[in-house]
Subunit: 451 residues, 2 copies
């Protein structure tokens, strides 16, 4: 589909963490800009003009501190094209900064405290002062590690986030969560160390999605479906003119339209600008209402973002599982080759969304007709809805779910879809927390995935 590039969309995100500079005592927002070729075309400035990439990053760091930065450390995924790294490094140098770079082999094993220590050593070698900044260029792991290093270097310096995967753009780039895994007694504990440390600026350039493997690209769409399934449980956007305008259409409808396009042609990254911006706006509203994930179950809050994740994490940690689509896509099929290490995060989330629908049906929060609708959309987005080789391992999956770190005080808590019975057919987009679901409901959910 030859979609004309959308213009640049900007979402103003309420920061969970304090800035250190002039506005230290008031709440503040930071901008997340989304656009095609954004990094080369220039970044919108609050006065309506456009700033070069380098000057936009300097202005963002300056807004955090009293002094403008003089140096920057770019932390990038070592799999990125050299040309992309050069665009960012040259833009910062052209704006007058001293620039150093550090490469990360951004896999789950690299998400360790020793990687963070290595980044801190790079920052020391680059002579970064308190008023200088980090720039993250890569996927979610790169952003998590860079933001965490920035949060503890000299007790906290500014950082800018340039996510290059769809998953990182729609999910990990905002919300302030940074961190790494810890290992204890031989087992890996995900995101056990970290900090809430908001970036000063987020730049999502859809052009960087063009070289992503298809499996990684569609993985990001699973988080978009999750957002669509919680959209109506999230506080409505504020009417203030400087906040992102309300989406003209629901996220669910937007995804159905994308799925229809995908039936006839591959995804055109330039056409994803509005989808990404609307997802960022939705996540920004969730985070603003519950910055530190401390809302009670009744209030939902940030825990809503775990829809599909409690089931998904259990599957993601199991090796040897292969995702399967319920119906083969008609054209431009993306084959789900058996992955060496199991499921990707996006695939696990897609499967988790199906599981949550099945569990919700069993628990009586939604009707049985929801699950096939979720499955249809996921399938049309080239995401899996079933898992091979799970049927004999359901007890293992249940045990892993019970050990998920999101459980509170030893009890299991999942997020389930809720049917709005005033609508027929029920509108999609309501979800809520459900504590201590029955064993029967959890088992039925995994058994459904294994059929």
């Amino acid at each position: 589909v030859a979609t004309a590039p959308s213009d640049i969309r900007t979402v103003h995100v309420h920061a969970a963490t304090r800035r250190h500079g002039p506005a230290a005592h008031s709440s503040h927002t930071y901008p997340a800009h989304v656009g095609h070729d954004l990094l080369t075309r220039g970044v919108p400035h609050s006065d309506g003009t456009r700033a070069s990439l380098g000057h936009a990053i300097i202005a963002a760091a300056h807004a955090i501190n009293l002094t403008p930065p003089r140096r920057a450390l770019i932390v990038h995924d070592d799999a990125l094209p050299a040309a992309l790294i050069a665009i960012v490094a040259n833009a910062l140098r052209d704006a007058g900064l001293d620039v150093a770079t550090a490469a990360l082999h951004a896999d789950e094993d690299a998400k360790s405290l020793s990687s963070v220590e290595r980044l801190l050593a790079h920052a020391i070698a680059a002579k970064l002062e308190r008023t200088d900044c980090f720039v993250a260029l890569g996927g979610g792991i790169t952003g998590d590690l860079t933001g965490f290093a920035a949060s503890i270097y000299r007790r906290g310096v500014a950082w800018c986030n340039i996510p290059t995967t769809l998953l990182a753009m729609v999910d990990a780039s905002i919300g302030g969560k940074t961190g790494c895994n810890l290992t204890a007694s031989g087992s890996l504990l995900k995101n056990m160390a970290g900090a809430f440390h908001d970036p000063a600026l987020v730049l999502c350039d859809t052009a960087s999605l063009a070289t992503l493997p298809p499996r990684e690209l569609v993985g990001g769409l699973a988080e978009c479906v999750k957002h669509a399934m919680i959209e109506r449980s999230v506080p409505a956007p504020a009417p203030a003119p400087n906040l992102a305008a309300a989406p003209p259409t629901s996220l669910w409808s937007r995804l159905e339209a994308l799925a229809a396009e995908m039936a006839v042609s591959p995804i055109n990254p330039a056409s994803l600008v509005d989808l990404i911006a609307d997802n960022l706006a939705l996540k920004a509203r969730v985070v603003a209402a519950d910055p530190f994930e401390t809302a009670s179950d009744a209030d939902g809050g940030r825990a809503l973002l775990n829809l599909g994740h409690t089931f998904g994490h259990a599957l993601e940690t199991m090796t040897g599982l292969a995702p399967r689509s319920l119906a083969a896509p008609t054209t431009s099929a993306i084959t789900h080759a058996t992955p060496t290490h199991g499921l990707s995060h996006g695939e696990a989330v897609a499967l988790g969304l199906v599981a949550a629908s099945v569990a919700g049906t069993r628990l009586g929060t939604c009707s049985a007709e929801l699950t096939p609708r979720v499955e249809r959309l996921l399938t049309n987005l080239r995401l899996p809805t079933r898992v091979e080789d799970l049927s004999l391992r359901i007890d293992d999956a249940l045990a892993r779910l019970r050990h998920d770190k999101k459980s509170r005080a030893g009890s299991v808590r999942i997020i389930v879809p809720v049917a709005d019975t005033s609508q027929n057919p029920p509108k999609i987009g309501l979800s809520r927390a459900f504590s201590n679901p029955t064993e029967d409901a959890l088992r039925a959910a995994f058994e459904h995935l294994a059929t």
Copy 2:
């Protein structure tokens, strides 16, 4: 001197960092209680009653989170008496918590990211959840490492600080700074990684000072002299009735009275309650005005706390220096044996205060009569005012001073005393930042110490 134990004094400290709980969006304070046998006598409660140590810690952690803690990890200096550790552990167990302990060999080498990682592993082994807490029991290094570990464990949990040295009580226990050193290219960079993360509660029991080596006890007095020399540059205490009352006397006068007592008998820890509380109140006012040390030079702010420290840090990092008192104390002499590794922090600060006075005189901010007055008080408090073996190493000391991390943007900035010329003799207690002092003034300061 048989001083009757003062009652318990409480200082309410304005927190720099946000709490995660019910009051997440408003500023909040945390209490620092000072008393003799406080840990066994009970901790004042806001309703006027006293709580047991265990219930006080539970209440403090509960005030940070929606859920009361169920587990605590006590991190203690391995040099502490077992009885002291047992008091804290038993108090928490009696209040119903699961308690684990972790010992630290709290020297400067232990202040590393790998020590922090070890504490995090202890927390995982103890199954600490987001709503559980750390308890630090020891000196400044124990507090810095424990607070930092708490700040990043599961992206931040509550911690309580029970400082057991005078230095930690009057200086390190409040203000929110936590962290560790980093090593890069073979050189140790102090406090280069860390976080601002306020404790939920600070408990200073002067009984824990009884077993401190005399050299460590008087080391804490150097920070008290520093506070006395900046007291009148700090915003006055707020008149609100729930804040600590204005000190009835200046810190300088209080220290002169203590020095007079020390001329006739050893320090009685029970008599230090008011001194410690007044020093905490002073530091609390500095921190409230400049929580993240971002105030401009003209405003002073938290940088005032560096009085004596820029010179002191330079000396502290040099090996083989021996402190010397100008006049031998008349009674109960504390001999300054040549330390194996150089100067203690308190000794280095005392010397730095003399150096800052000499530099201030050279730079014209104060009159020449200040230095002998500072030297007299330090001497009477058994603190050194001269250094052996420095005379041939002044160039080395100057080079170290220039590399101090507090320098901004490559330039040197020191804090110097200011004479209040409206008073005769000038009253002590005013200081200010001075950027780019002359080489001559810095050299004269070190040369004075070497005479």
